[in-house]
């Protein structure tokens, strides 16, 4: 399960993990709860190597309610009822549970494969993972309880699933991520298998920055024309901003992970959107199991 807030590159990492699964001979499956656009874009030319499943919340609810009520037809009848339909659409946690149950079914139908779930970015990642345990606590025996227990045992149980957390090297984002990882261990009993720090700015060579700074300072003495001097000033500002971004990111990372027993995998900031194949390579180079 790949989790992280919006805009951190979660889908790309999920697609890369599925692709790596295929390349390691385990048949990668990518599950996406959206319209499928993001997953398709992330997979790009490697679509054929991965089984890409797109599940809408409504599909997930029908899928989960089928076994619960004994048949899909019955599920459609109950969910077709005007009040039930409205209730299910407005009810919290039902969707989340239905989505997790759909994943459990997908995993069950595909023994031995690697199923990678691109978790929705909305809401708190931890709230999502807590749903099955909390549901188990408030239900009494019956088919609903049985379903919740199955999700807990077969999907969330130890050795069944690992969570990959994707984040950015920014102080506030990292702080939230570390809280998420600690909460996961303490409240859900799940160790994050991997913390991916995405978009790490590259190091700006000090010698390069010094050369540009010197040319800007000695522009007149070197006889550089005004247009070139303006261009050099802009280049200096861009390099300094990038250098500063690198320092900030490195400091943020060091402070956030100080005393936390999580070994991160760091991916570089890339000018182009990196392909799933490139990210898969980075992840495996980074020591991903």
């Amino acid at each position: 399960m790949v989790t992280g807030k919006g805009g951190v590159g979660k889908t790309t990492v999920a697609a890369a993990l599925a692709l790596a699964g295929t390349r390691q001979g385990r048949g990668g499956v990518l599950v996406e709860f959206s319209d499928g656009d993001a997953g398709s874009r992330a997979l790009g030319p490697y679509t054929a190597e991965v089984e890409h499943l797109v599940i809408s919340p409504d599909d997930a609810i029908t899928r989960a309610a089928g076994p619960l009520l004994g048949s899909t037809l019955l599920a459609k009848l109950v969910l077709g009822n005007f009040a039930m339909r409205r209730l299910v659409r407005a009810a919290p946690a039902l969707r989340e549970l239905a989505m997790l149950e759909s994943v459990r079914q997908i995993v069950e139908e595909r023994p031995g494969r690697r199923v990678v779930v691109d978790m929705p970015a909305t809401g708190h990642g931890l709230a999502w993972l807590r749903v099955p345990a909390q549901m188990a606590a408030i239900t009494s025996p019956g088919p609903f309880r049985t379903l919740v227990e199955k999700v807990n045992r077969d999907l969330m149980g130890p050795g069944r699933c690992s969570v990959v957390v994707v984040t950015l090297p920014e102080t506030l984002v990292l702080r939230e991520t570390v809280e998420l990882c600690q909460g996961m261990m303490q409240e859900v009993g799940l160790d994050p298998a991997c913390l991916v720090i995405n978009q790490m700015p590259s190091v700006i060579a000090a010698s390069a920055l010094a050369e540009v700074q010197r040319m800007v300072a000695e522009g007149d003495a070197l006889g550089l024309n005004p247009a070139l001097q303006a261009a050099l000033k802009r280049a200096q500002a861009l390099l300094e901003a990038r250098h500063h971004a690198r320092l900030l990111a490195a400091t943020a990372l060091r402070d956030a992970l100080d005393g936390v027993s999580i070994e991160p995998v760091i991916l570089p900031l890339s000018p182009h959107d990196p392909t799933a194949s490139a990210v898969a390579g980075w992840l495996m180079d980074g020591g991903l199991r």
Partner: protein, 373 residues
């Protein structure tokens, strides 16, 4: 100064495009022009609060970023983890006993941090409360960094459809009966009718959950009129005649996908995008041509480093141009404001500079006319 409804600008965009900073800049630009402006963020990343030097909470706070705006620029940044509590306090204001029962309901306590769209509902409720207390000329809503950020438009209507119709009463009765029938009829699946639905619900969910649900719906039934009122007010704000939707994007493949997804989503929500703000565009061709002219005495290290930056810049230019072309080819073209890549390191400086850059486009974006002009 204000007459009737304020101007409302809803800013939406995918993650990482600078939407929060841009929303703050838009608010600052309006305040500089004399508009009393309220900026509210739903983004749980808290970056705007950080940049503007305000703390999270349900109170209005004056932003002192730019002395020229006096007390005209006001921020509202509700703490996301308290969203559901805040909303329930407001909803059950006139029903304190029901409120106390709600806070003891196990089902509610389990679900409260998972109520979808709750941050948005709370934010809009706080805006309604603020507007009732004092007049504002403009309200900037900074939505969550997600493709589905605008889906909360439909959420008040969906909830109020559930609450106002027969549905709540029906479900409350159903749950009540299901509770009574629990254990009496084991063959719940035989036949199909009202009694069977009741038995099925009881069988599937189990007793305690049915009880909690019954009570929860009984409490909700008490406040449905108040909720319907809030839902209508929120709908007026988000889809009223003085509301504009601004999509914020950046020149990357992911942001481009999110931008056009949001376009389609707005149409599905019976609204439309008013303008696009394209952040971090790279149109400084001049800089790069000059730097790499053959006679420039650039050192080897600098040359290699700058080549990387140039490559990055060109990929941004290509993406910007592609976004422009796609926007121009729409059946109803949408105006775009290009904003450059800024090299400031302090978020507050970026907000100030973006506000200055947005100023010439302010009339086009907002229709705002300074009363002093």
């Amino acid at each position: 100064m204000s007459k009737g409804q304020p101007l409302v600008m809803v800013c939406a965009g995918g993650g990482g495009v600078g939407k929060t900073t841009t929303s703050a800049a838009l608010a600052l630009a309006l305040a500089r022009q004399g508009a009393r402006t309220l900026v509210i963020t739903i983004d749980p990343a808290r970056r705007l609060a950080d940049a503007l030097g305000v703390r999270l909470g349900n109170d209005l706070q004056v932003i002192g970023l730019d002395p020229s705006t006096g007390d005209r620029l006001v921020a509202l940044m509700p703490e996301p983890s308290l969203a559901t509590r805040t909303f329930m306090d407001f909803l059950f204001l006139e029903e304190p006993d029901a409120h106390a029962r709600l806070m003891a309901n196990q089902l509610f306590l389990t679900l409260e941090d998972k109520l979808a769209g709750m941050n948005e509902l709370v934010a809009m409720t706080l805006v309604i409360r603020a507007l009732a207390a004092e007049p504002f000329d403009a309200v900037i809503v900074d939505t969550a960094p997600s493709r589905y950020a605008l889906d909360f438009f439909t959420y008040p209507a969906r909830l109020s459809a559930l609450l106002e119709g027969r549905a709540v009463k029906w479900i409350a009765t159903l749950m009540q009966r299901a509770e009574e029938r629990r254990g009496k009829d084991r063959r719940w699946w035989s036949g199909w009718g009202k009694r069977q639905v009741e038995a099925a619900v009881s069988h599937v969910l189990g007793t305690s959950l049915v009880q909690d649900t019954t009570h929860l719906f009984a409490e909700i039934a008490l406040i449905r009129k108040r909720f319907a009122w809030i839902a209508r007010e929120i709908d007026n704000l988000l889809r009223g005649p003085r509301t504009a939707h601004i999509l914020v994007a950046a020149p990357t493949g992911a942001a481009e996908d999110d931008l056009f997804f949001l376009f389609r989503r707005l149409v599905e929500l019976e609204s439309r995008a008013h303008a696009v703000l394209l952040n971090r565009t790279g149109l400084e061709l001049d800089t790069w041509v000059r730097l790499f002219e053959p006679d420039v005495p650039l050192g080897q290290h600098a040359r290699i480093q700058l080549q990387h930056l140039r490559e990055e810049h060109f990929s941004r230019v290509q993406a910007s141009q592609r976004i422009h072309r796609r926007l121009e080819s729409l059946p109803r073209p949408v105006p775009v404001v290009d904003l450059p890549l800024l090299t400031y390191t302090e978020p507050a400086e970026i907000v100030q500079e973006l506000a200055t850059l947005l100023d010439p486009s302010l009339r086009m974006l907002t229709g705002w006319r300074s009363p002093h002009a």
